[in-house]
Symmetry: C2
Subunit: 398 residues, 2 copies
């Protein structure tokens, strides 16, 4: 059978994806199309369709379930709408930093968008030794613009509430609430770690001071609807090459604390940096400084030139907001580092380290780093202090 | 013409209100009905309909505009739905403390509810010299239960997000954002104060330290969706007698910071207490202590027995939440005290003070009290310390 834009939901195949692309006239009649499913198949189908000139599109379709480590649970198709809506909104704020969306279909849970196959996933590039020097400049700008213009500082406060209502995303938030902020800090079934880490993991579970700070961070994630977040801004959600950067996969988008997206990015930078030798590390830690520097300077400019909030002229208010965001970003980064080490969803940066003994030693350092980022969140004044703490962890455990 | 339950929106009259009550069979056929419009006509029509046995109902209908001090602006009828939905939710949590809702009609913007005419509005009773000894016990319980059970501590976190989406209330939030948190702190057209207060008012506007704290409080109001608030919990929204207490008028309901409802109640208690002689004041300030005591003990019990949040077993977390709520309640109370003194919507407690010189002197003390509640919000440890500060204000300016 043929899937058309008016069909009710069923998962596409390579054949029906091509039919749909033709039906929607994305290609000239008679074009010779090549289609490949390139998703990981756990959450979404991703079809790359291109013609004989290598001009292509991406058809992304949400699956009605999530598969992680063999388990499968139902998951709302509404996330495709969230993703499409987020990308359309981001296109008005940072058009160069997101893929163009050509078509969405809520019923089919489909987003058809720009083919980014000339770029590579940053995490994979990093693991292969690349640097992407413009990455953090672009992400700093991305963070400042997407967060400022959807916050009460940059968006009419009634419009913001309507947007917040549109981006209620309970099921995907629940995944973050559980997997980032809860399960890693208790002896939960979803956790996944090498037996050699058990001692270090049990130390975390017994650390009530740490858990109190995690509880506070989780509460901020649950309650602080400051701005429209990407919600999953790790290096696997960013395509790049030496000159271009594109953020993808905003299915977790919702209104949360501004520091969350920043913290996720910090954490995934550190999770790559921790795998690198002394010589190769600075190319990565540079991103920590640059992303914060570009974020704060862009955000501060917008604060001064594009504010809709009367109190932004009050002395000290911008400084208060930036300090609060930085402290929360550090805390959120700590949670992300820990959950990517011992929680359900790992990162390849750590899991591909060889030999095994080095992998375990690095993961132990990651846990120590995560702990510090959470406990010292309100003490760090800038990213240099975070880097110092990070370097101390590297030295102390060597 | 006759208004029926299927008619499209138009304002009721006493005649059409009776027709509607009959149409909906609230009274026996042939009953002799008496109807009186008892609202203030600024925001809503309120019809009290009763039969020959004095058995009655209240029909409340939202008007599509708000009139305050001669000005009129359009205002969403959706607030009637918000009010009905809030009261239905509250009926499951504190059935004895809200009027029973018999019928709602979104199209007509109507809520038909329990006749509370055996009770009186607390603000009016207070001004007449009454005390209502059980008031703060009931309100403490009301606050603890309505706030806990709609927070992430007491409500499944996915259900909470859906409820939060349902209670998006941008237009009415905007009124609070402007009239409580913004206008009184700038030279805004909506402000209203006696020329004799100009010096004190200008001092507020110049106080950048104060304004920074107000900015932070406003930001919490804008972003912290902690629990479903009543949103307007002053003594004019509470009916009582010596044994019963009923909270009405939750049109401003939305998900905001837990401390807001508490702070509004604190403020309106203080705004009555400030008008009383030394001998008669303690009966009122008692409510400050009792409401916080009952709130904290009830909230703490629920925390221990009815939590849905894994981290509520973490030592120190309850204490952190209660401290945060108390500090925010103090700050919010300060904003409310100030706006009720110099903003658009005054309170009769202050405006009925005679002679004029005493009224001005009391309002000056109110401004000083508001300033202290905001600036010392994070220093106050308990309501006794707030009372001490309050007594100092009373003495210092005498």
């Amino acid at each position: 059978m043929t899937i058309t834009a008016t069909t009710s939901y069923e998962p596409l195949t390579e054949t029906t994806a091509v039919s749909l692309a033709k039906d929607l006239e994305f290609f000239k009649e008679g074009a010779l199309l090549h289609c490949q499913e390139i998703g990981d198949g756990n959450l979404n189908l991703v079809f790359h369709i291109r013609d004989e000139n290598n001009t292509g599109i991406i058809i992304k379709q949400a699956l009605p379930y999530a598969k992680v480590v063999g388990e499968s649970w139902p998951l709302t198709l509404h996330r495709a709408t969230i993703e499409g809506d987020y990308l359309k909104n981001a296109a008005t704020l940072v058009p160069n930093l997101v893929p163009k969306v050509y078509y969405t279909n809520e019923e089919l849970a489909i987003t058809i968008m720009e083919d980014l196959s000339h770029l590579e996933i940053v995490r994979n590039g990093f693991i292969g030794g690349k640097d992407y020097p413009l990455l953090s400049k672009h992400i700093g700008e991305y963070l400042a613009k997407t967060l400022f213009y959807t916050s009460d500082f940059g968006l009419n406060q009634q419009e913001k509430k309507k947007l917040q209502q549109q981006f209620a995303n309970p099921e995907l938030c629940k995944i973050t609430e559980d997997l980032v902020f809860t399960d890693p800090f208790f002896d939960s079934e979803t956790n996944s770690y090498e037996p050699e880490l058990l001692g270090a993991v049990e130390e975390l579970w017994k650390n009530e001071t740490l858990k109190l700070e995690v509880a506070k961070l989780k509460y901020k994630f649950l309650t602080n609807g400051e701005a429209l977040l990407h919600g999953d801004l790790h290096t696997g959600s960013i395509f790049a090459n030496d000159i271009d950067t594109k953020v993808i996969d905003p299915e977790f988008a919702y209104f949360g604390p501004i520091g969350f997206d920043i913290g996720q990015f910090f954490a995934n930078i550190l999770l790559q940096a921790i795998t690198r030798s002394d010589d190769e590390r600075v190319a990565i830690t540079t991103h920590l400084h640059q992303v914060w520097e570009v974020f704060t300077s862009t955000f501060s400019d917008l604060w001064k030139t594009a504010s809709v909030e009367q109190f932004t002229t009050t002395p000290g208010y911008l400084d208060y907001v930036l300090k609060k965001v930085f402290a929360e970003a550090s805390g959120f980064a700590g949670c992300e580092v820990i959950r990517r080490t011992i929680g359900l969803a790992h990162v390849a940066d750590l899991d591909t380290i060889q030999p095994f003994a080095k992998r375990i030693a690095t993961k132990q350092k990651a846990l120590e780093l995560g702990r510090l980022l959470i406990l010292d969140a309100t003490n760090f004044k800038n990213t240099k202090e975070i880097e110092s703490a990070f370097e101390n962890v590297l030295k102390g455990n060597e």
